[in-house]
């Protein structure tokens, strides 16, 4: 893993609190994990007091429960239903307003949000998800100016996972549990009686700069070794495994496999998996007007390929059956994503498994197709 002894520092929980305050003084909106309505959600936080101290969660297919830990760990869980896309690629984004004024119509473009975001507690799978959305939303010929503005100023405090969730499989997707790149600062929480301390690495000049404002000291070799051991331990306890070998080819030669019908019998086509997925990026637009029709606006909002009207063409949906819609979602995520963006669309976070109301497991579906692949 990428913990380098010469640069690793030790940060106390108090130091982490001061980091949050330093970021806020620097004009950042600080967003991080907190307990809300029985889950660990991502919300505005301004102190370590808001972090889910002493909480962990149990996760399996269609199942999520918060549980008390025996210690005071601040990051002793995996990931909840929220992902950072809610802040970087928000559920609703007004694009423009138009005002009719006598003979003229003026279009007023919505200005990008200028307050910089500091994301606290970003996991390795989530860093990969952000990198994937960067490619999707900024990599084309045009790029999304709202997303670009938010990403240009994002400060990322990553956290190496010291606990594997019951539905996690980042190791299979080769993007975790340790963070490698894409962060300003990265923390590894050490086991402790009382409030924990963190082994800290900086990844950018911006990270090193903010570190100057907060107390820290070089980490000792034994602290670094302990941090490394905890993350290695996490890697060995993944709740799931995804057999990724030649996965795009496997799925694309099995578009008529009977398993699609079988999974469609269980799938409610509710779209939960697409909402919790940190890489799902699809949107639609809604136009609305005031009563006079003089002022109209267009808003972009998240959409789901499980919605019947997602593929609506005059005369009806191109994908009428749940079979076709589930197949679209899974083959896009695991196969055609490679053709479009050069990587898998899956980061192994396990959210789609945990938050599926009927517990459909994407790794199990792949295994079922692989087991009866005619080749």
């Amino acid at each position: 893993m990428s913990l380098e002894p010469q640069s690793a520092q030790l940060l106390t929980s108090e130091g982490l609190d001061q980091l949050l305050k330093a970021l806020r003084r620097g004009g950042y909106r600080t967003v991080g994990p907190t307990v809300r309505e029985g889950v660990i959600a991502y919300e505005d936080i301004d102190s370590v007091e808001h972090l889910p101290r002493g909480w962990t969660e149990e996760q399996s297919g269609g199942h999520y429960r918060l549980r008390r830990r025996e210690d005071d760990a601040l990051f002793g869980y995996a990931v909840g239903p929220h992902s950072w896309k809610a802040f970087l690629h928000p559920p609703r984004q007004r694009l423009w307003r138009a005002r009719g004024d006598g003979d003229t119509v003026q279009i007023e473009r919505e200005s990008p949000d200028r307050q910089p975001l500091a994301l606290i507690g970003v996991r390795a799978c989530e860093l990969q998800a952000v990198a994937i959305q960067d490619k999707v939303l900024l990599g084309g010929a045009y790029g999304d100016p709202h997303y670009r503005a938010r990403r240009a100023d994002t400060f990322i405090v990553a956290v190496n996972c010291t606990v594997a969730g019951g539905t996690c499989f980042c190791v299979s997707m080769d993007c975790g549990p340790n963070v490698a790149t894409g962060f300003d600062l990265a923390l590894t929480e050490l086991a402790a009686a009382g409030l924990p301390a963190f082994v800290l690495q900086s990844g950018t000049p911006a990270g090193r700069k903010v570190l100057e404002e907060i107390p820290h000291r070089p980490a000792t070799e034994s602290e670094i070794a302990a941090a490394r051991a905890r993350v290695q331990q996490t890697a060995q306890h993944m709740g799931r495994q995804m057999p990724v070998e030649s996965l795009p080819q496997l799925l694309l030669r099995n578009l008529e496999h009977p398993r699609w019908r079988e999974v469609a019998d269980r799938c409610l086509a509710c779209g939960n998996c697409t909402m919790v997925c940190p890489t799902c990026f699809c949107t639609t637009v809604e136009d609305s007007s005031d009563l006079s029709g003089q002022e109209t606006s267009r808003t972009q909002r998240w959409d789901s390929c499980f919605a019947v009207d997602f593929a609506y063409l005059h005369g009806g949906s191109v994908r009428q059956s749940a079979r076709a819609r589930y197949r679209q979602w899974m083959t896009h995520k695991l196969a055609t994503w490679h053709l479009q963006f050069g990587s898998s669309g899956c980061v192994g976070c396990g959210r789609c498994i945990t938050w599926c109301p009927v517990g459909i497991d994407i790794t199990e579906e792949v295994n079922a197709i692989r087991a009866s692949d005619p080749g």
Partner: protein
């Protein structure tokens, strides 16, 4: 510089210069660009057209690419947005984004026979290609338009079709699914006309636009006649909310129809077109 130069999701406002009925439920709008220079477009590309407060849909250009200031779209009123667009009279404002997507491969047509196969409203996206071919008639071999529509009264651009028929080296065959009124032309599917067309399959370029099932059969029939898959192009249609490959709606296998299409070479489509509900 217009607003959309910085944000492809922000439209420019244009007005309707004229509106003409071209068939039952079909209207052709010519838009007034005013003094503002409009971006040029390639035959086969589309604009996203919006009626304010109602919504936005992708509509192919149906005018002449040599006259980019004259923006022409032929629209069938089928849903809320297309119905609202076709109700816009002269002077009414609408929101326009584009041009987007790929065009017909006109540079590949030089020196070859060109077969255009249109079904229904599919003639509209092919008309810019025809304008371009006919403007430089000598550069191409035989030009054939095979056009199928439901009934005689639904034939689009009748007067133009009659004028094209008179050109030398241009063959136009029109067929209808059913004819109640007196009709002396062909009755049946447009693919049946392919055997009547004269072209050298080894040096032919085929452009097809119409309902998906018709395009599939037309491409297969052209293949049987000896035209290579690499010489056949189809224009596909899907739900689109952005036009720039980011909303996800128009996916067809690994393709984004708005960005990788709407005009796509048949060798990339043959397999996916066989999969139902892809």
């Amino acid at each position: 510089m217009h607003e959309s130069a910085t944000d492809p999701m922000v439209p420019r406002v244009l007005r309707v210069r004229s509106r003409r009925r071209d068939g039952p439920q079909v209207w052709t709008l010519e838009l007034d660009a005013g003094a503002r220079e409009q971006p040029g477009f390639a035959a086969g590309q589309f604009n996203m057209l919006a009626a304010f407060g109602v919504g936005e849909v992708p509509i192919s250009f149906s005018g002449d690419p040599a006259r980019p200031q004259r923006i022409v779209h032929t629209i069938r009123a089928v849903g809320a947005v297309s119905s609202a667009l076709t109700r816009l009279g002269a002077g009414a404002a609408l929101a326009v984004r584009g041009p987007f997507g790929t065009g017909w491969p006109m540079s590949e047509a030089a020196g070859r026979d060109v077969v255009l196969v249109a079904g229904g409203l599919g003639l509209a996206p092919l008309r810019p290609a025809l304008y371009q071919l006919l403007a430089e008639r000598a550069r191409y071999g035989r030009i054939t338009l095979l056009y199928g529509t439901r009934s005689p009264k639904e034939i689009l651009f009748r007067r133009e079709i009659d004028s094209w028929r008179k050109l030398t080296g241009v063959m136009i065959e029109v067929t209808v699914d059913h004819a109640l009124q007196p009709w002396h032309g062909h009755v049946g599917v447009v693919t049946a006309l392919i055997s009547r067309a004269r072209f050298d399959p080894g040096r032919t370029l085929a452009l097809i636009c119409g309902p998906e099932i018709m395009m599939r059969f037309a491409a297969e029939a052209l293949g049987t006649a000896g035209v290579a898959s690499e010489a056949i192009y189809l224009s596909l249609e899907r739900s689109m909310k952005c036009g720039i490959g980011s909303c996800g709606h128009c996916q067809f296998g690994g393709l984004f129809i708005c960005r990788d299409g709407p005009v796509i070479r048949y060798d990339r489509l043959r397999e996916p077109l066989r999969v139902r509900e892809l």
